[in-house]
């Protein structure tokens, strides 16, 4: 069967590319190895009555332009913002981050009288960086070595924006992109508890500690999202993160697209240096002159492409590209709402993201364990109970807890991620939460434990890295994933990349998918239609 375009992988980026291509009139096929679509934006009912956001769990980065252009609300997507969060320490204190400015100020002052003003300075510095980087997200990164007029004009665009910052801000920007989150926060915040609460966004999903250079940028990556223009705000996708990809799939199918699930890719079919189709594991073959891979760069080119079709330096670049899985995940069905005795009953911030840490030292120790090939003895958890807001994911009065865990290594020093180790890992996490919530353990009805190895096996993310490759400066912009190949094209003609391995990187953002669609359409002499969002 012959198509105009085939997309490999029905994750959010693959489906975004597919949606734009179908809307541009291309006969488009999406293939997916699992029996369901979604990739890492997926919702499954593993315990009857409970819906989990099995992998990614909160939404902010998904570009509003994409939501509007693909009409995702019409296909059921609804993003509900949440208001606040908190970090609890072991002495019974907490810091409550609140979206209400007055409440936040009072809470900062309660923790340290100087931190209210310090936080304002910190927030301004981060927002300035967001303002600088945001326009770059939905643009293809220029190739600095190219003399192509478009690359030169893009470089000039970035250069001018950079120059316009002025000398002091230019210096700040360079520092920001390269420094550690702990040192960045030290400049503004005094309270250890406030600092460690804010530092979380700098280490989530990355194989770096709070004192590792480059973690300030990781924080920025988590801040540049928005919910309805509220920059940095996070929300729940109603019905779980799978609602995003379900809406994308419906939008795509409504535009004439076709999805085949249940059999993954065996090989890209390449003839004379040009892709001509895909061969699936089940033996099916489909043909198209345009094939776009939503898989990460290593799986795409090392596991599913014949090496002889690729130039040596490109293969080297792909092999050098770092993944380093560092996160695990627990999804838990709860028989009721767990209590947190340190918080007032029915405190509003329990509806947001909760953490349990004493300070930066604990976070750095957690990272040290990972370097040694162990999961953290006292891990960083991003613990949320979305069913306090979302009525669709559990029966009334029952709850679903999503627990993101940092750090968990891909390869364990003591063996493999077998059932015994997964259970021990879960116990570490549950014990830590239980120290702050004594009844948590007894409320557990069902749990899903996901190590980096599970994430790799089920979702297909190499080493379980949630960003399809580390978000460090050496792997960003025109270096993502490989210098010279940052514009979604590969050495093989007709074969493109649309996953988070390409610019601007990970998170359920959709920007790589939309950017890839633009490049594919450009090569076909067509234009991406962003509709009223453009």
């Amino acid at each position: 069967m012959k198509y105009d375009a085939i997309i490999v992988g029905a994750g959010h980026n693959g489906l975004t590319t597919a949606g734009f291509l179908a809307r541009a009139g291309l006969k488009t096929l999406v293939i997916e190895k699992n029996d369901y679509v979604g990739g890492a934006a997926v919702s499954r009912e593993l315990q009857p009555g409970w819906t989990y956001s099995n992998c990614s769990y909160v939404c902010s980065l998904l570009r509003p332009e994409i939501i509007r252009a693909l009409e995702l609300p019409k296909y059921g997507l609804q993003v509900i913002p949440y208001e606040s969060g908190a970090t609890f320490d072991s002495k019974g204190n907490y810091f409550n981050y609140s979206s209400d400015h007055d409440a936040l100020r009072r809470e900062l002052i309660r923790n340290n009288p100087e931190d209210a003003d310090g936080y304002e300075r910190y927030a301004r510095a981060v927002m300035r960086q967001c303002k600088f980087i945001k326009p770059l997200l939905m643009r293809t990164a220029p190739d600095p070595t190219s003399f192509n007029p478009r690359d030169i004009s893009e470089l000039l665009y970035i250069g001018k924006r950079f120059y316009d910052l002025g000398e002091r801000e230019m210096a700040e920007t360079v520092r920001f992109w390269t420094m550690s989150i702990a040192e960045f926060l030290d400049q503004y915040i005094k309270s250890d508890l406030v600092k460690v609460h804010l530092a979380g966004s700098g280490i989530i999903g990355t194989g770096l500690g709070p004192y590792s250079p480059g973690t300030a940028y990781v924080l920025l990556h988590h801040y540049m999202g928005e919910v309805d223009g509220s920059i940095g705000a996070w929300g729940f996708s109603r019905g779980g993160m799978g609602s995003i990809t379900k809406a994308m799939a419906l939008s795509f199918q409504d535009a004439g697209g076709e999805i085949r699930t249940g059999s993954g890719l065996d090989q890209f079919i390449v003839k004379n240096g040009r892709v001509v189709g895909v061969a699936l594991e089940n033996g099916d073959e489909f043909y198209a002159d345009t094939v776009v891979s939503g898989m990460d760069v290593r799986r795409t080119f090392i596991e599913h492409t014949e090496q002889k079709e690729l130039p040596e330096d490109f293969v080297k670049g792909v092999k050098r590209y770092r993944f380093r899985g560092s996160s695990g995940k627990l999804n838990i069905a709860l028989d009721g709402m767990p209590t947190l005795p340190a918080a007032p009953k029915d405190a509003r911030f329990l509806k947001g993201d909760l953490h349990f840490l004493d300070g930066m030292e604990e976070l750095e120790r957690a990272y040290d364990d990972w370097k040694e090939g162990r999961w953290s003895a006292s891990p960083y958890v991003d613990f949320l109970i979305p069913t306090q807001i979302d009525p669709t994911m559990a029966p009334p009065g029952k709850h679903y807890a999503t627990i993101f865990v940092q750090y968990a290594p891909y390869e364990l020093a003591n063996g493999t991620w077998d059932d015994a180790n997964r259970e021990a890992f879960a116990k570490t996490v549950i014990d830590k939460i239980s120290r702050h919530s004594p009844d948590f353990k007894d409320l557990i009805v069902h749990k899903e434990v996901r190590s980096p190895a599970d994430i790799e096996r089920e979702v297909g993310l190499t080493e379980g890295n949630i960003f399809q490759g580390e978000l460090t400066f050496d792997q960003l912009l025109f270096n993502r994933p490989v210098p010279g190949y940052a514009q979604y094209r590969s050495p093989i003609k007709g074969l493109y990349m649309c996953g988070s391995s390409s610019h601007p990187g990970g998170g359920v953002m959709g920007a790589p998918g939309a950017n890839a669609a633009r490049e594919v359409l450009l090569d076909l002499g067509k234009k991406i239609d962003l509709g009223a969002a453009a």
Partner: protein, 401 residues
């Protein structure tokens, strides 16, 4: 001394507490109140945005007691209502609600409202503007009693996806068979309540009406039952966002009543407003019928249209241009719609713009960015109203969320 010369009370100024005031004040962290028809009505309790999302995701309570309310009762009640409004009231069965407008003799709209048919010979009319005299003028010579009951009935809107589940928890079995615009008489907390499946949000929702003395008992029962399903008290700002999405128009915002306009050219007929579908000629004489028959045959000089605007900045108070130069209209209500992720508005446009001429229309948006003003010209697309209506609005029996 003349014993009659004792001080008579002077009327209080400003806004009075409405029947649910205590409960709303307890949650009104912003201390934000507006004056709605002489009552203190909450503008925003904590954050308009989060209150709005409760309408679209969970369930919400909003006090509608300040609405103007009238009882029309007697053997000629149907004839009086049919003489007043532009729809055919004879088709409205007891136990049903309908959305109605009424016009003056020139065919211009006086007001809109919801008409509850309580029985063969009794109606309740809820609307925005005082209409006692208007109804009485129409009822002259008919065997009917017209009473203002604005202060005799309390009520609240209970809107959102989890409202039916909450009423189910309260063992209100009547909701299982209630279709949109149905009325039932039920009991909550042992108090009599008139419940209708109506609302202003384009989604599943109900309106509950009761005697003011029972108001707090009913409110408390619903609020307590709603806790597990995310119930939230909301203010006007949040409702206004849902109202625009749902395609409802607001008198004094989107059009002006022909009984209050000073400038004679401000009155608008139903065809201009886009409410022509509420006008029927297949019934006996009613107020404005002759004029409306004439107006139905001519193209309106201007029209209120639904528009979508490029980018994401709401076009509040914006002027509309053709080819970026010729002024052809203005925006009345505007919103970045968080649910549909579209930049939406209503605008009045002079013919032929928005009808025969739909291309090359622009709005001029002014944005203040840290004191400095910026001017943006954004594209305008003419679209259909409403911008949002959820399928669960009409599903019977109603869904749990």
């Amino acid at each position: 001394m003349n014993k009659a010369l004792t001080p008579r009370p002077q009327m209080p100024m400003g806004a009075l507490p409405a029947p649910f005031h205590e409960r709303i004040a307890a949650e009104n962290f912003q201390h934000s109140w507006m004056n709605w028809n002489g009552y203190a009505s909450p503008g925003v309790l904590d954050t308009a945005e989060f209150e709005y999302f409760a309408i679209r995701n969970q369930s919400t309570l909003f006090d509608i007691s300040p609405m103007c309310k009238f009882r029309i009762k007697g053997p000629d009640a149907e004839a009086v209502m049919n003489r007043m409004v532009t729809r055919d009231v004879r088709k409205q069965k007891p136990g049903r609600v309908s959305y109605v407008i009424w016009c003056d003799e020139d065919g211009n709209v006086v007001d809109d409202g919801t008409l509850f048919r309580r029985s063969e010979d009794e109606f309740l009319l809820f609307c925005q503007e005082p209409q006692l005299l208007w109804i009485k003028d129409i009822a002259w010579g008919f065997d009917v009693e017209v009473t203002e009951v604005t202060h005799d009935l309390a009520g609240f809107a209970f809107q959102g996806p989890t409202t039916a589940a909450t009423l189910r928890d309260l063992k209100i079995k009547e909701i299982e068979t209630m279709r949109p615009f149905d009325i039932r008489d039920i009991k909550i907390a042992g108090k009599k309540v008139m419940i209708s499946r109506t609302g202003f949000t384009g989604d599943l929702g109900y309106e509950l009406v009761m005697a003011p003395k029972d108001a707090l008992s009913v409110w408390d029962a619903v609020y307590a039952a709603g806790q597990l399903r995310g119930v939230r008290i909301i203010g006007y700002e949040a409702l206004e966002m849902a109202r625009i999405e749902a395609g409802f128009l607001l008198p004094r915002v989107d059009f002006i009543s022909s009984q209050t306009n000073l400038r004679v050219n401000r009155a608008r007929n139903p065809f201009e407003i886009g409410l022509g579908w509420l006008v029927t000629f297949d019934k006996p004489h009613y107020n404005g019928k002759r004029a409306l028959q004439r107006l139905a045959g001519v193209a309106p000089k201007r029209k209120l249209v639904a528009i979508e605007i490029s980018k994401d900045k709401a076009a509040h108070h914006a002027l509309v241009y053709h080819r970026k130069t010729r002024e052809v209209g203005f925006v009345t209500s505007a919103l970045w719609s968080a649910t549909t992720k579209r930049n939406i508005a209503y605008a009045w446009l002079e013919v032929p713009f928005g009808q025969a001429v739909k291309d090359d229309l622009w709005v001029e948006i002014y944005l203040q960015r840290e004191i400095e003003w910026q001017r943006r010209m954004e594209r305008v697309m003419i679209v259909e109203r409403p911008f949002f209506v959820h399928p669960r609005r009409t599903v019977t029996p109603p869904l749990n969320f």
